[in-house]
C-alpha cells in the first residue's frame, strides 16, 4: 500500500488527506509539531476573546481520524531525505514515504529589529502564540499597553483580541492608511475610522525602530522610527506578514525560493514530493494571484486538487475566480474578482463606489473603463452571495448588469435593510444612466452559469 506522508495538519494537509481517503485506500500519515489535531487557525482569536474554547476550533471529533484511517503523528521534522524517501524527526526517529507532501504553512516574518526576541514579543499565528498571549496579556492589570506592529489582517485581529480584554493598544502601521496596498482609499479610510472608534491608538506612517527591554529581559517599550517617540508597553505583537515555514528543507535537494517551488501540478523538483498551501510558491504566478497564496481558501483548493493527482487523476491547480473575506472588528469584508487600490490598479480599471452614511457599509465595484466588463467587487458590511458573483464573473457580465441585478447577490440576514436602490441611483447619477434595480429572483440565483 502506498504511503502518503503529509507534513502539516492545517487546512491544506487535512483537505488533501480527506480527499485522498475518499478516492483511495492509501496509507495516510499527517505529521504536525504544533497540535495533535487539526484546528482552524483563523479561529484562534476567538479563543482568547472567550467566544470559544480551543476544542471548538477543531472541525472534527477525535474519532474522525481513526475512522477514516488517517494516522496522526506529532513530531518536529528536521530533515527530508529524498534519496532514501524518509523524513527525519528532531529525535532522530524517521518515517518512510512513497509520496511526501509539504503543507507546513507559514511563520510570522520578523525584520531583524533590535529586541525582537525579548520576552513578550510575539506573532499571532501558532497555537503557541495564543498561549504566550494568555501568559503575557491575560488582562489589563498585567498588560497595561500592547503595541502591534504591522497593519494587515492579523494585526487588526490582534488589536480586536486585546481590545476585547480592555487592554489599551497602539497600532503601528507603516502605510499611510490601513491595508491600502489592497484596499481602495475610501474603504481603507473607513476602516481607519472604525479602528479608532474602537479606542485603538492607530499610528499611520509609523515604523518600529527597536524594542527595549527591562532588566529581566521583558519588553519595556518600543521606539518609533520616524519620531523617536518611546511607547511603554508590556507586549509587542509582530504582525508584519508571514513567510513560508520551510527552514527544515533549506539544505535539501528540494528547490526553494521564498517558498517551496512547485509547478502547476504542485510538484516540486524532487520526484514524489509535492507542496501545497501557504508554503508553496508557484514558479509563475497564476493570473492576478500571488506566487505564494497564504490564504485559507487557496490552501483548501490545493488540497482538493492534489488529492486527484495523487489518486491517479493528474490535474493542474487551476483556481477559479478569486474570492476572499475578512472581518475588521464589526465590519465584515468580502471580495469577489479583482479590485485593486487606485495607486496600483491597471490603467483600464475604473471604480464605482458607494458608502452608507453610517460609515460601516460600502462597496467598490471594479470594471473595465471601455468595455464596462465587471472585474470585481469589494463589499463591507453587506454580505454578498458567492455563487452569484462567481457566475457573473464567469459569464463576463458588465457593471450595468451587476447593478441591475444586485439584489440577487444580497446575502444579508432576512429583514435587513436593502441598499440596492440607493446604490443604483448613485450609479445612474454618476454615469448618466437609468438602470432599474430588479427584484431578487430565485430562478436567476439558481440558474447555473
Amino acid at each position: 500500500m502506498e504511503h502518503i506522508v503529509i507534513i502539516g495538519n492545517g487546512i491544506s494537509g487535512v483537505t488533501l488527506a480527506r480527499h485522498i481517503r475518499k478516492n483511495s485506500n492509501k496509507k495516510i500519515t499527517i505529521v504536525s509539531a504544533e497540535t495533535e489535531y487539526f484546528f482552524s487557525r483563523t479561529a484562534l482569536m476567538y479563543v482568547y476573546m472567550g467566544h470559544m474554547k480551543f476544542e471548538h476550533t477543531q472541525p472534527y471529533e477525535s474519532w474522525f481520524w481513526e475512522k477514516n484511517k488517517i494516522n496522526l503523528k506529532k513530531g518536529y521534522v528536521k530533515k527530508v531525505d529524498s534519496s532514501n524517501k524518509q523524513i527525519i524527526f528532531s529525535n532522530d526517529e524517521y518515517i518512510s514515504y512513497d509520496k511526501l507532501v509539504l503543507a507546513t504553512g507559514s511563520k510570522p516574518t520578523k525584520f531583524g529589529w533590535p529586541g525582537q526576541d525579548l520576552e513578550g514579543v510575539m506573532g499571532m499565528y501558532h497555537k503557541q502564540d495564543l498561549e504566550n498571549l494568555e501568559k503575557y496579556a491575560p488582562n489589563n492589570q498585567v498588560c497595561k499597553r500592547a503595541v502591534i506592529v504591522g497593519g494587515g489582517l492579523i494585526g487588526i485581529e490582534l488589536a480586536e483580541m486585546l481590545h476585547s480584554r480592555k487592554i489599551p493598544v497602539t497600532f503601528l502601521v507603516r502605510e499611510s492608511s490601513f491595508w491600502n496596498g489592497v484596499l481602495p482609499a475610501m474603504e481603507s479610510e473607513m476602516i481607519n475610522k472604525h479602528i479608532q472608534n474602537n479606542q485603538i491608538d492607530l499610528r499611520l506612517n509609523c515604523n518600529l525602530k527597536e524594542i527595549k527591554s527591562d532588566a529581566k529581559g521583558f519588553v519595556k517599550s518600543v521606539i518609533i522610527e520616524e519620531t523617536g517617540e518611546e511607547i511603554e508597553c508590556n507586549i509587542v505583537g509582530l504582525t508584519t506578514g508571514v513567510s513560508p515555514n520551510i527552514d527544515f528543507i533549506k539544505n535539501s535537494t528540494i528547490e526553494t525560493n521564498k517558498g517551496v517551488l512547485v509547478n502547476r501540478f504542485l510538484e516540486t523538483n524532487s520526484k514524489d514530493i509535492y507542496a501545497i498551501g501557504d508554503c508553496a510558491e508557484q514558479r509563475q504566478a497564476i493570473g492576478n494571484r500571488r506566487a505564494i497564496e497564504a490564504v485559507w481558501y487557496t490552501g483548501r483548493m490545493m488540497g482538493e486538487t492534489l488529492a486527484q493527482t495523487i489518486c491517479k487523476n493528474k490535474i493542474e491547480y487551476k483556481p477559479g475566480n478569486w474570492f476572499n473575506s475578512a472581518k475588521f472588528f464589526d465590519i465584515e469584508y468580502q471580495t469577489y474578482g479583482w479590485v485593486f487600490p487606485e495607486k496600483n490598479s491597471p490603467s483600464y480599471e475604473k471604480h464605482f463606489q458607494w458608502k452608507h452614511q453610517d460609515n460601516t457599509k460600502c462597496i467598490t465595484i471594479a470594471y473595465h473603463k471601455d468595455s464596462l466588463l465587471f472585474l470585481g467587487i469589494n463589499t463591507f458590511g453587506i454580505r454578498m452571495r458567492h455563487e452569484v458573483f462567481d457566475k457573473w464573473l464567469s459569464e463576463k457580465r458588465t457593471i450595468d448588469y451587476v447593478i441591475e441585478y444586485l439584489a440577487d447577490a444580497n446575502f444579508d440576514p432576512e429583514f435587513y435593510s436593502l441598499y440596492e436602490k440607493d446604490i443604483t441611483s448613485k450609479f445612474n447619477q454618476e454615469n448618466g444612466k437609468s438602470i432599474h434595480s430588479r427584484k431578487k429572483s430565485w430562478k436567476r440565483i439558481f440558474t447555473k452559469a
Binding site: I11, H19, K22, S40, T42, A43, Y46, V47, M49, G50, H51, M52, K53, H56, T57, Q58, P59, E61, W63, S164, R165, N197, N198, W296, Y297, R300, M301, E304, T305, Q308, I315, Y317, K318, P319, G320, N321, F323, S325, A326, F329, D330, E332, Q334, R383, M384, R385, H386, E387, D390, S394, F411, D412, P413, E414, F415, Y416, S417, W442, I445, F446
Partner: protein, 540 residues
C-alpha cells in the same frame, strides 16, 4: 456604568432573596367554619378526614407552611389508610357490598394539592396582608436590578456587533460555580412548583391582586408561573435587544416570541377565564399541548358551548394543517423560535447558555432516539385516551388510560419539559427539551427535513471552519460540518433562531425560504476551485 451594573446585581440578588425568603414567612391555621365549608364544598364524605384535619390545622398555634403541609398530608394519608384497611378487610371477608361502600370515602388528588388549597385559605402574614409592598420588594427589586444590570451593556459592550467576549472566561456562562448554583435553584424551583405547590402559597398571595383584576379569581401556582415567565422573558428580551441590536432578524424574532407569550399564553387565557370560558392558549399545538385530548379537557370543551367547539376544531386544524403548512413555507422556526413559549424562554432567559449544547455525533444519535420516542409515547397515549374516551373502557391493548396519562404527565410533562428542560439551562444549554424531548418539534422536524422550503444556505466556499456557528447553535447542530463542505444546512432539529448566521464572521450563513429544488446540495469540491474539477467530482 460598571458601578450601575454592580448596584443592579446587588438589587436583583436582594429581590431574589426576599422572593425566596418570603416562602418561609407567615402562619397557617384554620377556623372550624372555614374547614367545614371547604370540606363540604369539596364533597368529601369521610368524617374521618374532617376530624383529622380539624385536629391538625384548626388551632391557635401559628404553624409554618412546612408544618401545616405535613399535618394536612398526614391527615389525608391517615384517612385514606383507614378506608384502605377497611377495603382489605371486607375483601378478605368477601363482603362485597361493604367493600364497595368504602370507596366513596376515599380522597383522590395529590396530598400537596389539598394542602395548597387549604393553605390558600389558612395563610396569614406579610405576603397575604401586604401583597403590594412585597410585590415591589420581590418582583419590583428583581426587575429593577436586572434592568440596571442589563441596560449599561448598551455602552459597555461597545459598538453594535457580535460581542461574545468573555463568555468562556466567566463562571456563569462557562459551567462554573455560579452556573451550577443557578441550575440548583432552577431545579428546586420546578420541583416545588410541580410537586409541592403548597410550599409556594406565599407567592400566590403576592399576585392575588393582579390575578383578581385579570381573571376575577385568586392566583394559583400556575398563575405565579405564568406571570413570572412573562416578566423573565420581558427582562431578558431587553438583554437580547441590546446584544443583537445590529441584527434585525433577532430584534423582530424576539418581539414575536414576547408577543405570543404575553398575549397568547398569558393574557388571552386569563381573560377567557374571567369570561367563564375555558382558558386556552391558541398557539399551543398538540402534541406539545399533550393533554388537549385528555377526557377532562374534551369534556370541559364540549360543555363550554360555541367557544369550546371552536377551540376543539382550532386545536385539530392547528396541528394537522396550520403547523405543517407553515413549516413547508418557513421551516419549523415559525413555531419554535417565533411563537412557542418554551422556545420563547429558551431564546431570552436561555440565550446566555446556548453554547452548552453538545455537538458530538453521539449526542445527535441520542437526540434522534429520545425525541422520536417521546413523539411515539405521546401518540400512543393519545390513542389510548381517545379510545377509552369514546368506548368508555379503561384501557386499550392492556394499556391503562389513567396510568399512561399520569406517567406521561409526570415523566415528560413535569420532569423532562420543566425540571430538566429549563432547570438544566446553565450546564446543558437552553434547548434540552426542544432538542431531545418535544414531540411537536419531532413532528415539525419531519416536515422540515422532508418537505419544506427552508434551509440555511452556505455561501459558496467562504467558510473558514472557525466554529462559531457550531459553538452557538443551541440545538447542537454541527453547522460547521456542513458549511465547510459548502453544503446547505437542512436538519430536522434546526429551530431557525438565526444565531449561527449572526455569529459567522465571514457572512457564510443565511436562513432563507426558497425553491425545494437544490435545497440539499452535498458537494465535494467547493466553489472557487477549478470549474472543471468541481464538475468532475461533484457530478460523479
Amino acid at each position: 456604568m460598571k458601578i450601575l451594573k454592580h448596584i443592579g446585581l446587588v438589587l436583583f440578588l436582594i429581590g431574589l432573596s426576599i422572593f425566596t425568603g418570603v416562602l418561609f414567612t407567615g402562619s397557617f391555621n384554620l377556623s372550624s367554619t372555614e374547614l367545614t365549608s371547604y370540606v363540604s364544598n369539596k364533597g368529601y364524605k369521610s368524617e374521618l378526614i374532617l376530624n383529622n384535619l380539624k385536629k391538625a390545622v384548626v388551632t391557635n398555634e401559628e404553624l409554618s407552611i412546612l408544618e401545616f403541609s405535613s399535618r394536612v398530608r398526614e391527615a389525608y394519608k391517615d384517612s385514606n389508610d383507614h378506608y384502605d384497611a377497611l377495603i382489605n378487610k371486607f375483601n378478605e371477608e368477601k363482603d362485597w357490598d361493604k367493600k364497595g361502600e368504602q370507596y366513596q370515602y376515599k380522597i383522590y388528588g395529590k396530598p400537596h394539592t389539598l394542602s395548597f388549597e387549604l393553605a390558600k385559605i389558612a395563610g396569614k402574614g406579610y405576603a397575604k396582608e401586604l401583597p403590594g409592598t412585597l410585590w415591589l420588594l420581590t418582583f419590583g427589586l428583581g426587575i429593577l436590578g436586572a434592568l440596571l444590570f442589563i441596560l449599561p451593556n448598551l455602552f459597555l459592550l461597545g459598538k453594535a456587533g457580535i460581542k461574545n467576549n468573555g463568555i468562556y472566561l466567566e463562571s456563569s456562562t462557562n459551567r462554573g460555580f455560579i452556573a451550577w448554583l443557578v441550575l440548583v435553584y432552577l431545579v428546586l424551583f420546578y420541583l416545588v412548583l410541580y410537586f409541592m405547590p403548597d410550599y409556594v402559597v406565599n407567592w400566590t398571595y403576592i399576585l392575588d391582586p393582579i390575578s383578581k383584576s385579570l381573571n376575577g379569581g385568586l392566583a394559583s401556582q400556575w398563575f405565579v408561573y405564568g406571570f413570572l415567565y412573562c416578566i423573565i422573558m420581558l427582562v431578558m428580551a431587553t438583554r437580547m435587544y441590546i446584544k443583537y441590536r445590529h441584527n434585525k432578524y433577532q430584534l423582530i424574532r424576539t418581539t414575536s416570541v414576547l408577543f405570543f407569550q404575553i398575549v397568547f399564553a398569558f393574557l388571552i387565557p386569563e381573560i377567557m377565564t374571567s369570561l367563564n370560558m375555558p382558558g386556552y392558549d391558541f398557539k399551543n399545538a398538540f402534541p406539545l399541548d399533550y393533554d388537549f385530548f385528555f377526557d377532562w379537557n374534551l369534556n370541559s370543551l364540549l360543555n363550554s358551548g360555541g367557544i369550546g367547539i371552536f377551540i376543539l376544531v382550532w386545536g385539530i386544524i392547528l396541528t394537522l394543517i396550520i403547523v405543517p403548512v407553515m413549516v413547508y413555507f418557513f421551516g419549523k422556526r415559525w413555531y419554535c423560535s417565533w411563537v412557542c413559549g418554551c422556545g420563547g424562554l429558551a431564546e431570552t432567559l436561555g440565550d446566555p447558555y446556548r453554547q452548552h449544547s453538545d455537538k458530538s455525533l453521539n449526542a445527535w444519535k441520542l437526540e434522534r432516539w429520545l425525541i422520536h420516542f417521546v413523539l411515539l409515547f405521546s401518540l400512543v397515549m393519545t390513542l389510548v385516551t381517545l379510545y377509552t374516551y369514546f368506548t368508555g373502557t379503561d384501557s386499550l391493548l392492556g394499556i391503562n388510560s389513567q396510568w399512561i396519562k399520569d406517567t406521561y404527565s409526570f415523566l415528560i410533562g413535569a420532569w423532562f419539559a420543566g425540571v430538566i428542560g429549563t432547570g438544566f439551562y446553565p450546564i446543558f444549554g437552553n434547548r434540552v427539551w426542544c432538542r431531545f424531548g418535544c414531540p411537536l418539534a419531532a413532528y415539525l422536524g419531519f416536515v422540515q427535513r422532508f418537505k419544506s422550503r427552508f434551509r440555511i444556505t452556505t455561501n459558496g466556499g467562504q467558510c473558514i471552519s472557525c466554529g462559531n456557528c457550531s459553538t452557538y447553535c443551541e440545538q447542537g447542530i454541527d453547522v460547521r460540518a456542513y458549511a465547510q463542505k459548502g453544503e446547505n444546512i437542512v436538519r430536522s432539529s434546526c429551530v431557525g433562531c438565526g444565531i449561527c448566521s449572526a455569529v459567522c464572521p465571514r457572512g457564510v450563513l443565511k436562513l432563507e425560504n426558497g425553491p425545494e429544488n437544490g435545497r440539499i446540495n452535498p458537494t465535494d469540491i467547493l466553489l472557487g476551485n477549478d470549474v472543471n474539477l468541481m464538475e468532475l467530482i461533484n457530478n460523479k
